[in-house]
Symmetry: C2
Subunit: 128 residues, 2 copies
DNA sequence: CCCGATGCCTTGTCGCGCAAGGTATCGGGT
DNA sequence: ACCCGATACCTTGCGCGACAAGGCATCGGG
């Protein structure tokens, strides 16, 4: 029984809380990347993994449904592109409504970060 | 049809994304407050609403189950206190395991914030 | 010839946040 | 006398995003 079925202790717990914390940030991240220029799904996957020190490990099962949601709500537009290529790509572009929404998301995010910092800093002082 | 059933447009959407973004932060906030000194549930509710500019609007239906979860996992300890009072209070104290977990949570949180800042800042430059 | 990378997708499960409801005591306003 | 808000705890049921796990197809290198 030296074959340990468990990875490092608590790693499952870490994964869980990381998942919960990152909730909602994927949408912000994706929309931000698309705010710069159009991308296709698989490309987004790599961009998001390379940026931000790999903190945002977006999974396929997360990204594709998210893109469909954003498309349904009119925040992004999808276009298939083949162009002599065997594996066609689905490019996404942000819409004006998407930009408005992105601004909203950014505001909400920085508000949350500010609030949390205040809370944590205040307690940090007392702790000292 | 002038009677609009909807409040300000998008306010429901705002509430939704705020809820999604704040996911998981409540645990960090609660544990942080308890890291300073013991508190009872209803008190936590008020402390969390007054701190951090009201960004963390914790609801009762969120807080109480969360406290029970933290207790079950051994991160906090509960003690009933009556002391001549008609309405008894349930005080919570953080345990050593809770402190370890709190440290972990703080690390995860700042990692996420850093990652997001890098991502957003990088895109901000290009946008300019 | 197989396997990994590319490129898209789906179904089912998990777990948090919350609306909505419940119970009980106490004090102040009318 | 009565009601209502604050205090103080709790619960059930729903919504919804993240993800594991799987599927499908093509292309290139060892």
């Amino acid at each position: 029984m030296s074959e340990d079925t468990e990875a490092p202790p608590g790693s499952a717990a870490i994964a869980r809380l990381r998942r919960e914390l990152a909730r909602g940030t994927t949408e912000l991240a994706v929309l931000s990347v698309l705010g710069v220029r159009r991308r296709y799904g698989y490309e987004l996957l790599k961009v998001l993994r390379e940026t931000g020190e790999g903190v945002l490990e977006v999974k396929e099962g997360t990204l594709y449904p998210l893109l469909h949601r954003l498309e349904d709500s009119g925040h992004i537009l999808a276009t298939w592109e083949v162009e002599g290529r065997a594996r066609p790509r689905k490019y996404y572009v942000i819409t004006p409504e998407g930009r408005t929404y992105l601004t909203m998301l950014r505001t909400e995010w920085s508000g949350l970060v500010d609030g949390m910092r205040q809370l944590l800093d205040a307690l940090g002082e007392v702790r000292e």
